[in-house]
């Protein structure tokens, strides 16, 4: 029984920490309708800052807490709101996700640059002073955490329910313009809610550090737990969010206490929020379509078939020349660039046309690689099997969020990536615990030069396929669905299945790339497909241009170059995350990316931007998408 009590207390403490984080998330979301994926990352950076000031510099705990939670975090939140969020006020969900993921990656980059990874510990508050409670030991830190959660909950609830400022905050999201008419300073309100949100993230990060550890990634993933809790309240209700947080904390604690947590199940603790989230999504009521929301996004021109074939031949020709003229290591690098390019092509229909965001595209690549490895054949059919397996998994991911909307879909990919990372990839049918797999080369192409030509051909083939999709009716459906889901539904389009199909297609392409990736590396491990590497991939895809084949190739090559840069110019390479983060915060709103600037160079026309530049005269509509 003592064990049970101890687990319950641990669960409540963890849940209280989640509740603090989730409260901040719900506050910022309900007042700005921007889901801050970087919420956990803010907590992470603040936890590091707390460590720096209190442990490294030796400041008193109370002063450090006051400084970090009371001053630095709110200022950071307000600055983030001022710089980034304003421009996102009316942006589509996809753009808000990309920009906040950019912030997340940037914050990780900052943390890694300032605090290079070494072992750091943060002592709990009042370390050593424990209380006995019916056979279980409760530390003062635990009590403080629970008390902090209760105070934060009560304060937030009181703020939003009883104060003028809080009521105005909630009203701000419904109608900024109207509220401004009544004299409210909506920008002030929004900055305040982001400030408070960041302070809560910081508090949660600091409180949970003794449980989670001072780690860039684990603390950043706090957003996952906070999100899972917030889904219980449909991202809007604070009381339900707190209930969700406590349930999550408890289930995590019991799972860790009563289930075996060695070997393949060692990631269970980290995976519980993801499982909890899927359960919450399945129970969530059906979302109603939002009406009255349209915004055209001018795409880049779609090349005709001949033009596309011409460019394809050019790319393959260039790859062939490189294959024979350049050393083998360069061939391998270029192959990798083409393979990443295919992964980015998988985002073109999904994100570029459809406006959906996948935060775990590399996980599908991993599924493809495992499939080819397990089949153990060099037949090109293995690539199709890889695509099929990944497509199936992609459809499964889209299913729980089927009744819900884009934001939930994107965030379930995050949960899915986490689940695969921590549990499935560790299982014996996948890589095994910390294991790796040998992958055969397709067609037995052992020469690096031959493999380069193969990947170039594969890229061109998939690229032509994506362009054909865009020109087909399904391409139009995707764009129509992005522009107006309600409009599509009233025309008779089954949004759910269209969404599942596009997710499956995208995952399938990524799985296909995974087969090629495995063959290139020849041995692959779970670390090759880590969730956290999917994020820079998504960001680079958008920065380079996620609406075009050219953008995909550009993005693929850039992604390939990053580690090269890191190994050859370490000083710059270490900042890669930072650079990608900054670039996507700046460019994340324009899915046409750098590629559209290239096209514009060729045609001496200003690039289209996002939201679209209105073409002055209607007759210039030729360039439409």
């Amino acid at each position: 029984m003592g064990g049970f009590l101890a687990l319950t207390i641990l669960g409540l403490v963890t849940g209280a920490g989640y509740a603090v984080a989730a409260g901040g998330l719900v506050l910022t979301y309900s007042t700005s309708r921007v889901f801050n994926v970087a919420h956990g990352a803010i907590g992470m950076v603040m936890a590091f800052l707390y460590w720096e000031l209190s442990v490294n510099q030796g400041l008193p705990v109370w002063l450090t807490l006051l400084l970090v939670v009371g001053v630095v975090a709110p200022v950071l939140g307000a600055v983030v709101e001022r710089i980034m969020m304003r421009q996102l006020a009316d942006a589509p969900v996809g753009a808000t996700l990309v920009v906040t993921v950019g912030l997340l990656v940037m914050l990780i980059g900052v943390a890694q640059a300032i605090w290079p990874s070494t072992a750091r510990t943060v002592p709990p508050f009042f370390a050593g002073s424990d209380l006995k409670l019916g056979g279980a030991v409760v530390s003062v830190h635990d009590l403080i955490t629970i008390a902090a959660a209760i105070v934060a909950a009560a304060a937030l609830y009181g703020l939003l329910t009883f104060t003028r400022v809080g009521i105005a905050m909630r009203a701000a999201v419904d109608n900024r313009g109207l509220l401004a008419l009544y004299g409210a300073r909506t920008s002030m309100l929004s900055a305040m809610s982001w400030g408070i949100g960041a302070a809560l993230a910081a508090l949660a990060g600091i409180l949970l550090t003794p449980v989670v550890g001072l780690s860039y990634h684990d603390l950043t993933l706090l957003v996952m737990s906070a999100y899972a809790a917030a889904v219980a309240g449909r991202l809007l209700s604070l009381p339900w969010t707190f209930v969700g947080a406590l349930l999550l904390g408890l289930s995590q604690s019991y799972a860790v206490g009563y289930l075996p947590t060695t070997g393949a199940l060692s990631g269970l603790r980290a995976a519980i929020p993801a499982l909890f989230l899927f359960a919450a999504l399945l129970l969530a009521p059906q979302a109603q379509l939002r009406v009255g929301q349209i915004r055209g996004i001018r795409g880049v021109p779609v090349p005709g078939l001949l033009r596309a074939l011409g460019f394809g031949a050019l790319a393959i020709g260039a790859a062939a020349v490189a294959a024979y003229a350049l050393p083998g290591t360069t061939s391998d690098r270029l192959s990798l660039g083409f393979i990443y390019g295919i992964v980015m092509l998988s985002l073109v229909p999904l994100t570029g046309y459809g406006g959906y965001v996948s935060l775990a595209q590399l996980t599908f690549v991993g599924v493809g690689a495992i499939t080819v490895a397990r089949l153990g054949t060099a037949s090109p059919l293995a690539l199709l099997a890889a695509a099929g397996a990944a497509a199936l998994v992609g459809a499964l991911v889209a299913l729980p969020a089927l009744r819900l909307q884009g934001l939930y879909l994107a965030l379930s990919t995050l949960a899915f990536g986490l689940l695969m990372d921590k549990l499935v990839f560790q299982a014996s049918f996948a890589f095994g615990f910390n294991g790796s797999l040998a992958v055969p080369r397709i067609l037995g192409l052992d020469a690096q030069s031959h493999y380069l030509i193969l990947t170039a051909v594969a890229f061109v083939g998939v690229g032509l396929g994506v362009l054909a999709l865009r020109r087909s009716r399904y391409g139009r459906y995707l764009i129509a669905m992005r522009d107006s889901p309600a409009g599509c539904a009233t025309l008779g389009l089954n949004l759910r299945w269209t969404r599942v199909r596009i997710f499956a297609l995208s995952a399938g392409i990524a799985g296909f790339a995974g087969g090629l990736f495995g063959g290139l590396r020849q041995t692959v491990a779970a670390t090759d497909f880590q969730l956290f590497n999917s994020l820079p991939l998504l960001l680079l895809a958008v920065v380079a241009g996620v609406t075009s084949v050219t953008g995909s190739l550009l993005g693929g090559m850039l992604l390939m170059l990053l580690p090269v840069l890191a190994s050859e110019v370490p000083a710059v390479g270490g900042l890669a995350f930072l650079v990608i983060g900054v670039a996507s915060v700046g460019l994340g709103r324009d899915p046409n990316g750098l590629a559209s600037r290239l096209f514009a160079l060729g045609r001496w026309r200003p690039p289209s931007s996002f939201p679209s530049v209105r073409l002055g005269r209607a007759s210039r509509g030729e360039a439409a998408s």
Partner: protein
């Protein structure tokens, strides 16, 4: 102009005792109305009366708190929006839902493709001509003026070859001449045996084209009848007068007295604010 209403066949659409509550706001209260094939049915009422909400209930975008919707002899209350579209319900939106990044032509084409026509391009081309959008066919839908976008939504809805067409304030943004031909188009559509349910602020148009009118006030259907009956209806007049701010407004004379005449433009000064609910994005400089 108005024809006698014969109650001999089952209505195509029957909304029965529908109530919609948004938190504390009751947008629609036990509304009951019918729409018959071959007729233009009007739905009028002040701003915020619940007309758009009722449309959303009929096409499945809004689940009613209570009540049923019957269409073509089947209960469709629980059906999804796309299923209703396939049964033959099409609509346009008061706040436009055109596909902004597709061209006008592609907007109509996509509808014809979703409907599964054998030759979607032919259907789309024909409809673009029917509503007179040839000049704008290649323009991105978010660059055209509001009136044009409304016609585009009409063409898109017609591409479904619907049995029931729901039009939410379709004439705002149209010129007088365009409104005139729009009215004729509506009569042509119902002449093919379809049904039209139209929400409109242009009383002139409503009185001219409708066979029957339902009047909604505070979410309640306060009157149902032919245009002549509606003009004479006391409840309707009271609803108008109750809101009318100008003492010398036209309601001082009973509307029934000038049945044949088109009503003045400011009929029900407080009733309609044409700009209300418009998307602000179309800031045509």
């Amino acid at each position: 102009m108005t024809r006698a209403y014969v109650d001999d066949k089952r209505p195509l659409l029957e909304v029965g005792d529908v109530t919609v509550r948004f938190g504390g706001v009751t947008a629609v209260r036990e509304a009951t109305l019918e729409v018959h094939e071959g007729e233009v049915t009007g739905l009028i009422g002040p701003n915020g009366a619940g007309k758009t909400t009722l449309f959303n209930v009929i096409c499945g975008l809004q689940r009613p708190t209570a009540g049923t919707v019957w269409f073509a002899d089947g209960d469709i209350t629980g059906k999804a929006t796309h299923e209703r579209a396939r049964l033959g319900i099409a609509r346009t939106f008061q706040r436009l839902e055109a596909f902004g990044s597709l061209s006008v032509w592609e907007n109509v084409l996509v509808a014809a493709e979703i409907r599964g026509h054998k030759r979607p391009a032919d259907v789309a081309r024909h409809l673009i001509e029917v509503v007179g959008l040839e000049a704008y066919a290649q323009a991105p839908a978010d660059t055209v003026p509001t009136g044009i976008a409304r016609l585009l939504e009409l063409a898109r809805a017609l591409a479904l070859h619907p049995r029931l067409l729901l039009l939410d304030e379709p004439s705002s943004g149209l010129s007088a001449a365009e409104t005139e031909s729009f009215g004729e188009l509506l009569r042509d559509i119902v002449a093919e045996g379809r049904a039209v349910l139209i929400v409109e602020h242009d009383m002139d148009l409503i009185m001219r084209v409708c066979d029957r009118i339902h009047v909604l006030d505070f979410g309640r259907v306060i009157a149902t009848g032919t245009p002549a009956e509606i003009r004479a209806d006391e409840n309707v007049q009271r609803a108008y007068l109750g809101r009318s701010e100008e003492p010398g407004s036209d309601f001082d004379e009973p509307p029934a007295a000038d049945l044949g005449e088109p009503l003045p433009d400011d009929f029900g000064g407080a009733w309609i604010n044409p700009a209300h609910g418009e998307e602000t994005r179309r800031d045509e400089a």
